[in-house]
């Protein structure tokens, strides 16, 4: 057997799953002692170029409350044409179409390498993708121009049959009718009035005709009149391009000392209402582009007086943010409505100040939408990120899927506690649902309105087997993920992933269990729990909780293989300092933005977020990863730091001087030029694939932007211990934060001393 490393890697490649423990303790008691719960990071739509989807329906267990899908772990009686469900042990006959089944003629789902398999099913007529642009017009002229161009460009990226719609807003909200010729028509809503979905549909003239038309025409559920506001791209390409071209800045005058009136809340409400009325339960993206905070109407985040600044963490902690609760509640309600209908909401916020992401984050968090934050629409960060939303996979399909419903089935010894990720609960209670909730729990089904290949959910389980009822030797715990979704080609698909792990007795096989510990996965999973808590609790509480967990972990494993969790502890150290848990130096919007991405990216990206990667470039050798430590900051090095959100190229003091002197321009210093170029090339590579585009920062020793680097590295050298450490190397960091070393020492002390 390969090492756990290889096993883990293999599993991840095949199934998109990383478990914190790869051997499961066989009883609840033991599992609890392990501190880190049995949990996994699951990437439902992990790209599997090697996995051809099968074109038939999955075979389901006939037990009503089970409905597990036939999988390689099932026992099959080929002669009797019967298979036993490995979750409920129900014996099911194969359907007639499987008549020819035999040991040599097995369907794909029975082959071990198809532990993950994708079915294409025929469910209803295919519905086109829907993109509804919701555009803020209270922008600076340049920004608006850039945004308009991006939007026009995006039209060319859409499949011709995709439906597009346009809503613009400022002080008023305008729903543009795309079907008319001649005069450009739009329906206008007042930005200050909260309207119910029904009212909106009535006002848009969607109410009655919808029902009537549907009855008359029967078949085509999507009637022509519905196309008033949502039109196939190929039909309105020109129109819409012109329309976008003619978009004006919000014409209402903005008096001195005021913010423009921005009716984001109503605009979203109208967008959601429109889709609700026309295409319920169909994959759709509402793409919201905002250049500032909502300043009026429901969902308002800040008043229009410039003298009242937008809320900061300070205000929030002092309970001084007037609109926070109301706005949050408003957007939450809307997010839930939208999620119910399977529509996801993206937020593209480009402004120098905050835009109210804190309040609006749930829109994307609950519906699987993207949040992109930038300084201006007129930056490549936004432009390329936006372009990347429409990126395509090897098949030429969009890397996005809609209306996903993920169901988890577990074998009896295991129950599911919850999920953390861009999903909402579908409240499907079942036998495999634990009462102990972690993340979004209390259900075995979650809705993920929008998925992409990197969307990753953290799933938390609980071992419910009692200590006195040992699992039979060689028994395996099984988890099955059934994800139904609408593929970007409009097909309905179901992806089934079935995973099994061995049970182990924690008493006798503790070493085995410990060795199956996946530090990286565990770190990310714990971090997600922490972030999830941070959303609802005060920062210090979360930190204290995290610390207690760590102390317990250290204590439990101190005796045996503590070293194996050293990496884990290091992650935890950086997590404690990360913007996911620390709000210092971050605006509420930024915190929301970071957390949003943290809970949806896959393991690798998550790790980068927690502990940025630092590469060092020098004349001394090839580029090498170095410790994220202040000691790595040397004068003759160029550092490339990737924090996921930022790419920082840092030129050491000497390098910076050389560069200033212009050596790279001289032929004889060609090597210096190459040295300078090397990190740029690497950064470019990262930029190419990352979504959202990271902020690209080119700085040098003493540069103001160097703070991005300095705030991340382990402050092993500070102004406090500078001389104690001698003139070794590296640069001192001006901080009172403890270094990793101090943290570890302290942790050990606590683990040993305390009786906790």
């Amino acid at each position: 057997m390969a090492t756990y490393q290889e096993f883990i890697q293999q599993n991840e490649d095949r199934d998109g799953v990383r478990f914190s423990w790869n051997l499961w303790p066989s009883s609840r008691l033991e599992a609890t002692r392990l501190v880190v719960p049995v949990s996994c990071l699951f990437t439902p739509l992990k790209e599997r170029p090697d996995l051809p989807p099968v074109q038939y329906e999955p075979v389901l267990c006939s037990r009503a409350n089970c409905k597990a899908v036939l999988n390689p772990l099932c026992q099959v009686d080929f002669r009797a044409k019967i298979w036993a469900c490995n979750f409920c042990f129900q014996r099911n006959p194969f359907p007639p179409s499987y008549a020819g089944i035999s040991e040599v003629n097995q369907p794909a789902e029975l082959m071990p390498q198809f532990s993950t398999i994708e079915y294409i099913v025929q469910r209803g007529p295919p519905t086109p993708l829907i993109f509804l642009y919701v555009v803020d017009t209270c922008l600076e002229e340049e920004d608006l121009q850039a945004l308009k161009e991006s939007l026009q460009m995006s039209l060319s990226l859409l499949p011709p049959n995709a439906l597009v719609g346009l809503i613009t807003f400022g002080r008023m909200v305008q729903v543009h009718e795309l079907s008319c010729e001649g005069i450009a028509k739009s329906y206008v809503f007042r930005g200050t009035k909260d309207l119910s979905s029904k009212q909106i549909q009535e006002m848009l003239g969607l109410a009655k005709p919808a029902a009537a038309a549907a009855q008359q025409q029967g078949r085509p559920p999507v009637c022509l009149f519905l196309f008033r506001f949502l039109q196939p791209v190929h039909r309105v390409d020109m129109n819409l391009t012109d329309l976008l071209g003619e978009l004006q800045r919000d014409p209402w005058p903005v008096p001195q000392g005021k913010r423009p009136l921005r009716s984001t809340g109503v605009a979203l409400s109208v967008a959601v209402g429109l889709l609700e009325g026309t295409f319920p339960n169909t994959g759709a993206r509402v793409m919201l582009f905002i250049g500032g905070p909502p300043t009026q109407g429901p969902g308002m985040v800040v008043g229009d007086e410039l003298k009242t600044p937008i809320r900061s963490w300070h205000d929030i902690q002092k309970d001084n943010a007037r609109h926070l609760k109301k706005a949050t509640k408003y957007y939450e309600a809307m997010a839930n409505r939208s999620a119910v209908n399977g529509h996801s909401i993206d937020i593209y916020a480009c402004a120098l100040d905050q835009t109210g992401l804190l309040e609006m984050k749930c829109l994307s968090n609950l519906t699987g939408g993207h949040i992109v934050m930038g300084d201006s629409f007129n930056t490549s960060l936004f432009k390329q990120t936006f372009q990347r939303v429409f990126s395509k996979d090897y098949n030429g399909d969009f890397r996005m899927a809609f209306g996903g419903v993920m169901e988890v089935k577990t074998s009896r010894e295991l129950k599911v506690c919850g999920a953390i990720g861009p999903c909402v609960s579908l409240n499907s209670k079942g036998s495999c649902v634990s009462e102990n909730e972690m993340g979004v729990g209390g259900t075995s089904q979650w809705k993920v309105c929008s998925l992409n290949p990197s969307t990753t959910l953290g799933m938390y389980f609980e071992v419910v087997n009692q200590h006195n009822a040992p699992v039979p030797q060689g028994g395996r715990g099984v988890v099955q993920f059934v994800t139904q979704y609408q593929h970007s080609s409009a097909q309905r698909r179901i992806r089934v992933t079935t995973i099994a792990r061995n049970w182990a007795d924690a008493q006798s096989q503790i070493q085995h269990i410990e060795s199956s510990f996946d530090q990286e996965a565990a770190a990310v999973l714990m971090a997600r729990l922490g972030v999830f808590r941070a959303e609802s609790e005060e920062g210090p509480d979360v930190l204290r909780w995290l610390d207690r967990q760590l102390i317990r972990l250290v204590k439990t494993h101190l005796k045996s293989s503590f070293s194996s969790s050293r990496l884990h502890l290091q992650f935890m150290f950086h997590l404690r300092r990360s913007p996911f848990l620390q709000v210092f130096n971050n605006s509420p919007d930024e915190s929301s933005y970071y957390r949003h991405h943290f809970v949806r990216q896959d393991l690798t990206q998550s790790l980068i977020m927690v502990q940025p990667i630092l590469y060092s470039y020098s004349f001394h050798g090839p580029p090498e990863p170095v410790l994220l430590d202040s000691s790595s900051i040397l004068p003759d090095r160029i550092l490339l730091m990737d924090t996921f959100f930022q790419l920082v190229i840092f030129h050491g003091e000497t390098i910076a001087q050389w560069r200033k002197a212009g050596y790279q321009e001289m032929a004889e210093y060609e090597n210096f030029k190459q040295l300078l170029q090397a990190p740029l090339d690497d950064a470019q590579e990262i930029l190419q694939t990352r979504f959202p585009m990271p902020r690209y920062i080119d700085t040098e020793h003493g540069g103001s932007q160097a703070r991005f680097l300095l705030s991340k590295v382990n402050p092993s050298q500070t102004h406090n211990n500078l001389y104690a450490w001698g003139q070794e190397t590296g640069a001192p960091i001006l901080t009172d934060d403890v270094s990793l070393q101090v943290f570890m020492d302290h942790l050990k002390k606590l683990a040993v001393s305390s009786s906790a």
Binding site: I183, K185, Y187, G205, E246, P251
Partner: protein
């Protein structure tokens, strides 16, 4: 006045003589002059006449003479006494005199002339003379006698009537018995009344009938037969009585009837009324007795109508009874009546004798006398009626009077209005027959007279001088008082005390048209700029600098003419005074020498202390199914393309500053972005009608020139876009809200043009339901139909006014749209409502477009506040028009255009002095169409008088009618229409009675005496009472009534005049340069062989007689055949002949005069459409039950007599 005076003065005597030849009598008449005497006089005069005619009369004559004699004296005395009238008249008289003279001539000609106006005049003269003399002025037609008769016949029938009525009496006989017996007691009346009413029809008929029926005929006949009478009548007619005239017509019959003829003649002279009465008297009474009897009766009645029951009461009751009685009798008895007459007369006579003394009353008595006999019967009935009316009072006064009242009902029965509904019809006809329409005051004559005398420009410098009539073309020279084009008053001599005002009941009001358009040859008000400090004003009352400010202390201070407060003259305004105390620069400064001028307002006079933005026009077009189908949308859009180049501007050289915006709507609203930078307009749909807002700012209101292409593109596309619409529901409230919000957003004032088709039933604020319920009409709940259905629009109107948002509403309904409610906002904001029922593109396009063009182009001010300040002693207490008032003094007008007039009523709050007169200053602060804030000031000074006669001599009936109509039309919001009508009649009766009592020379109570200036009051009032608003026909929709009601509320005097008394011109001969002389609005005046044009300010008809000459048809229509005339044509074919050219020119000039375009309707005689046309022949009985002029006059007379007794 003048006329009266004149008439009285010279002509009377002289004329009378001619007229009757009984000149001698004339003198008598002269005698009449005495107020009472007048009547008597007239009577006597008549009598004289009678005498002349017949021996029978002789007696009367003899009798009369005595009377007359005294009368003459009286007259003189009166006249003197009336001096007021007289004198003033004199002064003013000049013009009139002329007229009167004509009269005389006319009189002379009378017989022949009658038909023609001259005749009228002629007759009038005589009549007038008589009356004049007698009354001094009234129409008295005085010939009081005549009057008596005249009135009597119809109305009054009063005693006179009764007399005349002796005929009536006869009937009365039938009735009479009861009456008589009961007569004394009123009880009978009751019974009688009813009958009377029915009879009414009868009664009046009686009188009429008499004419018609043998009785009347008799009487009339008498008159008529007495052909002579006609002449006399004519003479009378002039005065006012139609009576005479009728007689002639009826004369034949009467003649037949008999000896009376002689009398008749006399009677006729008397005025129809008198005739009857007198006639009877004459007839029976030999007259003399009759007359004598009259008096007697009068006395009795007067003394104790009741007590005297027999005689007196009868009389009194008679009057009424007569009406009633007569009527009934007439109806039935008529024939018999004659006989009764004879017989009757005697009785009266007998009665008469008793009273003899009451010669003055004679007439009345006469009537009574006649009535007496018949009267009793009649009276009884009347009495009953009376009771209801004024029994007691009347009794007190004169039995006769009472009689009249009762009669009222009866007589006027024709006018259901009056109370005696049923009767009315019948009566009316009879009445008509009886009275010679030519003998009663003729509007045409008055108008023509006024034209004739108004050759000089009218200068406003003389205080208390009444301007020429609105129908007259004249030039005005502003010499310190506002031109009558801006301000017209009901009275130019205000009574000094509240008591006098109350006694006279003459409304003190001014009709102000602040932005009136002036003719080319008169310069618009000068613009005065007093610099940064703003206009100079009195410190206390804030009156603006005007010619009434008296500079003192060498010019350092000025004393306010309104409140007498002394204010420092600012240094920059200082100027030395000359030796007369006038500022040296007096004539250099408009505000010191003119009646009307404008100040440039400073920022202190602006909203929010900010100079206003230029106003905006917003066009809101209904695009529901009906609107599109009718073609309205298409027409509006097409027209707007060109119309936008004609937005109002002050400087014709410059582009208009007015910005425009466009909205279309059905259940939802569509705003349009027409910003110049756009290639295509953009439509913004707002469906949230429950909470209206404006979806855009920039690009909604644009400058026409900048956005021309986009706007044109929009206007091209709107009809296309909605061509296939199936939306039938509309909203209305949100539409106005939208416009209002847009103006608010743009922070400017402006005007909304709303083109709307249907009842707004879609779910939205201001949603309405159909509440047209014919069953409510005539009930106490009727008033609710004129009130807005929901309060929403009142609130909205208030908001509109606050923003300076004026709303003009164009309605294109196919059914009930609830104009009463939809019109609330336009009316409160100074806007207009236009209504095109069953709009069809083809036929109504022209009218609509012309209205629209005018409405868009006309000069208009925004966000206006009008304040009327007055000198101590009077106060502006009430305002009528299209505006909103949030307090009791400031009239707020979101918009004020050149066609809007505001009627202001004044009341005394102290004594006025004859020396200083009464001053008023009307200041209107407004934003001009170029966005300039201005103050327009109109000053008006009138005299004050301590003699009622002065008041009556210097008043203007047209203005009074304007006031009355507005007053009444507002009254129906809170009172049943019947009550409103009664109030009107009552007030008029009081006005005339007051005159009769206090100003006219003594004369027979049976004589109707009208002040010269008010002699048209009855006919015009009748027109008001018959209007669709107050007396709807079965086919008049509620919407139409509400529409008219609102329309009247802001009419000026000229418009209301022609509206109530349409202009009817014969077109047989057309001369360039002058219009043919109009004819009176009566079918009788139409000749089968003629073509007539009739205009009301709203409608324009071309009536073609059935046997019109081919040549005329060829000239006008280009076809020789009557049957080939297309009744649907709305414009005349353009033919190349002088006649056609001139006719079209006339039509065009008519249209140019009116604020609304009049669609031409060709009416062929005997065609169905003639019904509509006839509706406007206001002197005739109307299909809806309105009384004819003659009937009404009789009724009025009766009322007056009732008041006097």
């Amino acid at each position: 006045m003048n006329v009266n005076q004149h008439t009285p003065m010279a002509s009377p005597y002289g004329q009378p003589q001619p007229g009757y030849g009984q000149p001698g009598y004339a003198p008598l008449d002269g005698g009449y002059p005495a107020p009472y005497a007048p009547y008597n006089g007239p009577a006597s005069a008549y009598q004289p006449g009678a005498p002349q005619q017949g021996p029978a009369r002789g007696p009367p004559a003899s009798g009369a003479p005595p009377v007359s004699a005294p009368q003459p004296y009286n007259q003189y005395s009166q006249s003197q006494g009336d001096m007021q009238n007289g004198p003033p008249l004199m002064t003013q008289a000049p013009p009139r005199p002329a007229v009167s003279q004509p009269y005389n001539h006319g009189a002379v000609n009378l017989p022949g002339p009658q038909p023609s106006f001259p005749q009228h005049y002629g007759p009038p003269p005589s009549m007038q003379q008589v009356t004049n003399q007698m009354t001094g002025m009234q129409i008295a037609s005085g010939p009081p006698t005549p009057a008596g008769p005249g009135y009597a016949p119809p109305h009054s029938s009063q005693p006179p009537v009764s007399n005349a009525y002796s005929a009536a009496p006869p009937p009365s006989y039938t009735h009479a018995p009861p009456p008589v017996s009961s007569a004394p007691t009123q009880p009978p009346p009751p019974s009688g009344p009813a009958p009377s009413q029915q009879y009414y029809g009868g009664p009046p008929p009686p009188s009429q009938q008499q004419f018609n029926s043998s009785l009347p005929p008799t009487s009339q006949q008498q008159f008529t037969s007495p052909a002579p009478p006609p002449s006399s009548q004519q003479s009378f007619p002039p005065t006012s009585y139609s009576g005479p005239v009728p007689p002639p017509s009826q004369a034949p019959a009467p003649q037949v009837s008999q000896p009376q003829q002689p009398f008749p003649p006399t009677q006729p002279p008397f005025s129809s009324a008198p005739p009857p009465v007198s006639q009877p008297a004459f007839v029976s009474g030999p007259p003399p007795p009759a007359q004598g009897s009259f008096p007697p009766r009068a006395p009795p009645p007067s003394s104790q109508p009741g007590s005297f029951p027999p005689p007196g009461p009868p009389p009194t009751s008679l009057p009424s009874g007569q009406y009633t009685g007569p009527m009934p009798p007439q109806q039935q008895p008529p024939p018999t009546q004659p006989s009764p007459y004879h017989s009757g007369p005697p009785p009266p006579g007998s009665q008469m004798p008793p009273t003899s003394m009451a010669q003055s009353n004679h007439l009345p008595p006469g009537p009574q006398g006649p009535p007496g006999p018949p009267g009793p019967l009649q009276q009884h009935p009347p009495q009953p009626g009376m009771p209801g009316g004024f029994p007691p009072q009347q009794n007190g006064a004169f039995g006769q009077v009472r009689g009249p009242q009762p009669g009222y009902a009866g007589p006027y029965p024709g006018q259901p209005n009056y109370g005696a509904p049923a009767p009315a019809p019948a009566p009316a006809p009879p009445a008509q027959k009886r009275l010679d329409p030519d003998a009663i005051p003729s509007p045409i004559q008055v108008i023509e007279d006024d034209k004739a005398k108004s050759t000089e420009p009218f200068t406003t410098g003389v205080r208390g001088q009444a301007p020429p009539l609105v129908t007259t073309n004249f030039q005005v020279k502003d010499q310190g008082n506002a031109s009558p084009r801006f301000v017209r008053c009901t009275a130019y001599n205000m009574p000094c005390t509240a008591d006098m005002a109350k006694q006279s009941q003459v409304p003190l009001a001014a009709v102000i048209k602040p932005l009136a358009t002036l003719p080319q040859d008169e310069s618009p008000p000068y613009l005065v700029d007093h610099g940064e400090g703003g206009p100079i004003r009195c410190n206390r009352c804030k009156a603006y600098m005007c010619p009434y400010m008296q500079f003192i202390e060498g010019g350092r201070r000025f004393q306010c003419g309104f409140c007498s407060c002394v204010t420092e003259v600012p240094p920059h305004y200082f100027q030395h005074l000359d030796h007369t105390g006038k500022r040296v620069d007096c004539y250099d400064r408009p505000e010191l020498s003119l009646g009307s001028y404008e100040f440039l307002a400073t920022v202190d006079y602006c909203k929010n202390n900010k100079l206003p933005q230029p106003p905006a026009f917003i066009f809101l077009i209904d695009v529901s199914y009906n609107a599109v189908k009718s073609g309205m949308v298409n027409i509006v859009c097409q027209e707007l393309k060109t119309l936008l180049d004609y937005l109002p501007r002050e400087n014709p050289e410059m582009d208009s500053m007015v910005r425009v915006g466009f909205v279309t709507y059905n259940k939802v609203l569509h705003f349009y972005n027409v910003k110049a930078s756009l290639a295509q307009p953009q439509m913004l749909v707002v469906s949230d009608v429950s909470d209206m807002f404006v979806p855009l700012l920039d690009g909604f209101l644009v400058n026409v020139n900048e956005s021309r292409l986009v706007i044109e593109s929009l206007l091209d596309q709107i009809p296309e876009m909605f061509a296939d619409t199936r939306e039938t529901e509309t909203v209305f409230g949100p539409v106005i809200q939208a416009g209002l919000e847009a103006l608010k957003a743009a922070d400017c004032a402006g005007k909304l043009f709303v083109f709307h088709t249907s009842l707004p039933i879609a779910e939205a604020p201001g949603k309405l339901k159909n509440r047209e319920d014919k069953k409510l009409i005539g009930t106490d709940k009727e008033k609710s139909l004129f009130q807005p259905q929901v309060g929403f629009y009142n609130t909205l109107a208030k908001e509109c006014v606050a923003q300076g948002c004026c709303v003009d509403l164009f309605l294109f309904p196919n059914q009930y749209v609830d104009v009463a409610t939809l019109g609330v906002v336009p009316v409160s904001t100074g806007g207009s409502v236009y209504k095109y029922t069953y709009f069809q593109a083809q036929t109504d396009k022209e009218r609509f477009l012309n209205d629209l063009r005018r409405d868009v182009q006309k000069l208009v001010g925004f966000d206006a506040v009008m304040r009327v300040r007055t000198s101590t002693g009077i106060r502006a207490t009430d305002f009528f028009g299209s505006f909103f008032m949030s307090n009791t003094t400031d009239v707020e007008l979101a918009g004020l255009d050149c066609d809007k007039a505001i009627t202001v009523e004044f009341k005394h709050d102290d004594k006025l002095s004859e020396e200083t007169g009464a001053l008023m200053q009307c200041a209107v602060l407004y934003t001009s169409c170029s966005g300039q804030r201005r103050l327009r000031v109109h000053n008006m000074a009138v005299n004050c008088c301590s003699q009622l006669a002065d008041l009556y001599r210097n008043c203007e009936t047209d203005t009074i009618i304007n006031f009355f109509s507005k007053y009444a039309f507002r009254g129906i919001l809170s009172n049943p229409t019947k009550a409103v009508r009664d109030t009107l009649v009552n007030q008029c009766a009081q006005i005339l009675a007051c005159y009769r009592k206090n100003c006219a020379s003594p004369s027979s109570a049976g004589q109707l005496i009208l002040p010269e200036c008010m002699k048209l009051l009855p006919v015009y009032l009748n027109c008001v009472l018959k209007s669709d608003v107050l007396l709807p026909g079965a086919d008049v929709s509620l919407d139409d009534r509400a529409y008219l009601r609102q329309l009247i509320s802001c009419m000026d005097v000229a418009e209301s005049h022609v509206f109530f008394y349409p202009r009817l011109l014969p077109l047989t001969k057309l001369e360039s340069g002058s219009l043919p002389v109009a004819v009176r609005d009566s079918e009788e005046r139409l000749s089968k062989g003629g073509v007539y044009i009739l205009e009301t300010g709203l409608h324009l008809f071309l009536w073609v007689g059935a046997s019109v000459q081919q040549e005329l048809l060829l000239n006008i229509f280009g076809t020789p055949s009557f049957s080939q005339i297309d009744p649907n044509m709305t414009s005349l074919p353009v033919l190349d002949n002088p006649f056609s050219e001139r006719l079209r020119e006339i039509i065009d000039s008519f249209r140019a005069q009116r604020s609304r375009y009049m669609k031409l309707m060709v009416v062929k005689q005997e065609d169905r459409t003639e019904l509509i046309f006839r509706h406007f022949l206001v002197e005739d009985k109307s299909a809806s039950g309105g009384a004819s002029y003659v009937d009404f006059l009789c009724h009025m007379h009766k009322e007056i007599r009732q008041l006097l007794s």
